[in-house]
């Protein structure tokens, strides 16, 4: 199994051994409940507050704006529900290519008549049509929540946070962005970014699973979504995932230190794969805007549909190559990807997402491309 090639880093990434090392003492030795007042508890509290400061500093936010959750899904659920229940938003503007943590939450609110719902138009390359967004905002008679993801997990398209944020500001809308694919992969300067909520998940950038981030801009005041304890300054009840939080901060720290080198390296891999696949497979195309405003970790490839290529994921796996048809969260469903359907409704294509990390190599790409030739 050691020869497996893992090209599914948008689904999850391996924990960095240095992150695990930072987490280890808190399992067995410094294990106290952070709410307790004796030394064991104070030690844990300190570790959590230190992690919060690290994260805040890296994202250029105030520590009081940083909340730890169980993951990106909880963070998005919290933000979206709060915008409706606590911030007076009655109209949600979103896109058809959001992660299900956003889209299903939004649909739930819509079904219960708590908000009206509009979908912004997408350009052929999958980017948000900014003119349409402005039209929707300008035409709204009620306070809006705009929820648009920073980088799409399936096709990698990136949103211009500033442009959308400024529009939201102009029309008095609340802006939530699912940044699960970008926190730990891009620099953030939240103090100078017009956004109210962003989210993060440790396991997307070589940190632990089960821990996430919710940034709540200091200018918005919301109520907790999970009740029953004073943790996270009364915002998120439940005994803190101590090692997870420590690991989250450590992973973000490492990712930030290595951002320049890693992002350049991974971008090269992505471009290299595009070139090689294009050479090797006739009729191949790429979804989204892969060489433009795009996540350097994700490459969405559409292959011409043949009897053989329909089995492509199966055949990739047979060759110990790990990739996915869409996002992991929906890979169990057979309905295909809602993202691909929204931007490229060509029934004669089969789409595969390859997503990279610093651990991947050009040799792996060569191997995969060689194998792909036989799978189409």
């Amino acid at each position: 199994m050691s020869n497996r090639i893992y090209f599914d880093n948008a689904a999850t990434t391996p924990l960095d051994p240095a992150v695990l090392e930072a987490m280890m003492p808190y399992f067995t030795d410094k294990f106290g409940n952070p709410s307790a007042i004796y030394s064991y508890g104070r030690e844990s509290r300190l570790a959590i507050e230190n992690a919060r400061k690290i994260v805040a500093k890296i994202l250029n936010a105030h520590p009081a704006e940083i909340f730890f959750t169980s993951g990106g899904t909880e963070s998005s659920n919290t933000a979206i529900n709060a915008a409706i229940h606590d911030l007076g938003c009655r109209h949600i503007i979103t896109s058809p290519i959001e992660h299900h943590a956003t889209s299903h939450t939004v649909e739930h609110l819509y079904r219960h008549s708590e908000a009206t719902l509009s979908f912004v138009k997408l350009l052929p390359n999958g980017h948000v049509d900014m003119e349409d967004l402005e039209r929707l905002l300008a035409g709204s008679t009620e306070k809006c929540l705009v929820t648009l993801m920073h980088a799409n997990n399936e096709i990698g398209n990136m949103l211009d946070l500033h442009a959308v944020g400024n529009l939201c500001k102009m029309y008095g809308a609340i802006f939530h962005s699912d940044t699960v694919q970008t926190v730990g992969h891009f620099p953030f300067d939240l103090r100078n970014t017009p956004v109210h909520f962003i989210t993060g998940a440790g396991h997307k950038f070589h940190g632990p699973k089960g821990v996430g981030l919710l940034y709540i801009n200091e200018n918005v005041k919301i109520k907790p979504y999970i009740h029953g304890g004073a943790q996270e300054r009364n915002m998120r009840a439940g005994t803190e995932n101590l090692y997870g939080i420590v690991g989250f901060a450590k992973a973000l720290e490492l990712a930030t230190e290595r951002y320049e080198a890693d992002s350049r390296y991974i971008q090269e891999l992505k471009v290299y794969m595009m070139e090689q696949v294009k050479k090797a497979v006739r009729g191949v195309s790429f979804n989204g805007d892969p060489l433009g405003r795009s996540l350097y970790t994700v490459l969405s490839v559409s292959f011409p549909k043949t009897e053989k290529s329909e089995m492509i994921l199966f055949n990739l796996d047979m060759n110990n190559i790990c990739a996915s048809g869409g996002s992991a969260c929906t890979s169990g469903a057979d309905q295909g990807s809602h993202v691909i359907r929204a931007i490229n409704n060509n029934p004669n294509q089969v789409t595969v997402r390859f997503s990279f990390s610093k651990h991947n190599t050009k040799e792996e790409i060569d191997f995969v491309v060689e194998k792909l030739k036989d799978m189409i």
Partner: protein, 387 residues
């Protein structure tokens, strides 16, 4: 040589068992897959680990694996159970019955339900911390959808008459949810025998990792349905979305397995130590046990020391014995424990109460030390007071 401080606050949290650590470790860096990845072996390995853990946790409480929903902890589980039932059964009614000594995760959620238009009855408890089952029955109305009574109290260890409550709930066709965070892994819990419909537990209270818990949702007689509180990828049978914390869940499974296998031996050992501690401390004048002494968790003793300043008591012990005066979640607040108040303990006495919770690694020597330390501290504080 004793290692100080001695940790006697296992109801707040427990250290991870090294055997649990061992099981978790490969899932961090090697078998790191997303359990929802269906197209490759990393995903399948992760899913397999989750399924195995699901069986282990289910077995500990007599449930079927499919009835276990993994959460981020008991607080999330409590929220999901109560809000999920409230939304799903809105057509049947809006009345919930709980009790005043529940954990904040239940009480605060019930308060939230009231804001949403729900009706909540908060049953009182007697001096022993027990609810009156007849009073419970009398509170049931045709609009009642849920009875939420904890299995064992986190501050006093008092075990509620769960079996009787379950039978009553069944008789009246009302769902029974129990927060069993402190009971699971410590005493035998069986969702079938006790007619429990929903149950929460947490890994870090039973020598597993923090950040992972489980909600049991009955699938037969009756089939319980819930409105999800976290929407998204449809994980956990649609009841709880979010990428699964695979290492944490694998660790939880192992922790559950160890508890199941060692339950009887651990219980006997811990109750011996607890009794030794309690009997020794009761030798002091004006010292009382809070809560039931017969229907109680084997490792918990909540003791009030009259004529002692509570802060002084804590400060005197703090450096050498790690324990709390109540729930960890509220230990930073200066309010006297609402649980003890509900038992009829006066504020002053509630302030000078200590919760001792013994653990898997507590030794007889440690108990000897604690007996001496507490005895001396209480005597010193009382002597100071009389001067």
């Amino acid at each position: 040589m004793l290692k100080l401080p001695i940790y006697l606050d296992h109801n707040a949290t427990t250290p991870c068992d090294p055997r649990v650590m061992e099981v978790m470790l490969p899932f961090f860096t090697e078998q790191f897959g997303n359990a929802a990845s269906r197209s490759h072996s990393f995903g399948w390995q992760a899913e397999e680990a989750v399924d195995y853990a699901r069986e282990q946790v289910a077995r500990l409480i007599g449930a079927e694996p499919k009835e276990i929903i993994f959460t981020s902890g008991a607080t999330e589980g409590d929220n999901l159970a109560i809000k999920g039932v409230f939304e799903m059964y809105a057509g049947k009614g809006n009345h919930i019955i709980t009790c005043v000594t529940e954990h904040k995760a239940v009480l605060d959620t019930c308060k939230h339900i009231e804001k949403l238009g729900g009706e909540v009855t908060y049953l009182p408890v007697n001096k022993e911390g027990l609810i009156d089952v007849q009073q419970l029955e009398a509170a049931i109305t045709p609009r009642t959808i849920l009875i939420a009574i904890m299995y064992a109290n986190n501050e006093t260890g008092t075990i509620q008459p769960v079996k009787a409550i379950g039978a009553l709930a069944k008789k009246h066709n009302v769902l029974f949810f129990t927060d069993a965070t402190q009971a699971v892994g410590k005493i035998p819990v069986d969702v079938i025998k006790d007619d429990i419909d929903l149950l929460t537990c947490s890994a870090h209270k039973m020598y597993g990792p923090k950040g992972v818990g489980a909600l049991y949702v009955r699938r037969k007689n009756p089939r319980v349905r819930l409105t999800a509180q976290l929407d998204g990828g449809g994980h956990e049978r649609g009841m709880r979305s979010g990428t699964l914390n695979v290492p944490g869940i694998a660790g939880f499974g192992k922790a559950a397995d160890i508890c199941r296998q060692d339950l009887q031996a651990d219980t006997e050992r811990m109750s011996r130590l607890r009794d030794k501690l309690e009997n020794a401390l009761l030798q002091l004048d004006a010292t009382f046990v809070n809560g039931s002494r017969t229907s109680r968790l084997p490792h918990v003793a909540n003791i009030s020391f009259n004529f002692v300043n509570g802060d002084g008591l804590m400060m005197g012990l703090n450096k050498e014995v790690a324990l709390s005066s109540g729930a960890a979640c509220t230990s930073a607040s200066m309010e006297p424990s609402y649980v003890l108040k509900a038992l009829g303990v006066e504020d002053d006495l509630a302030h000078s109460s200590l919760r001792f919770s013994i653990g898997r690694y507590t030794t007889s020597e440690e108990i000897d030390f604690v007996i001496e330390k507490v005895t001396n501290t209480v005597n010193e504080l009382r002597a100071m007071k009389t001067i």
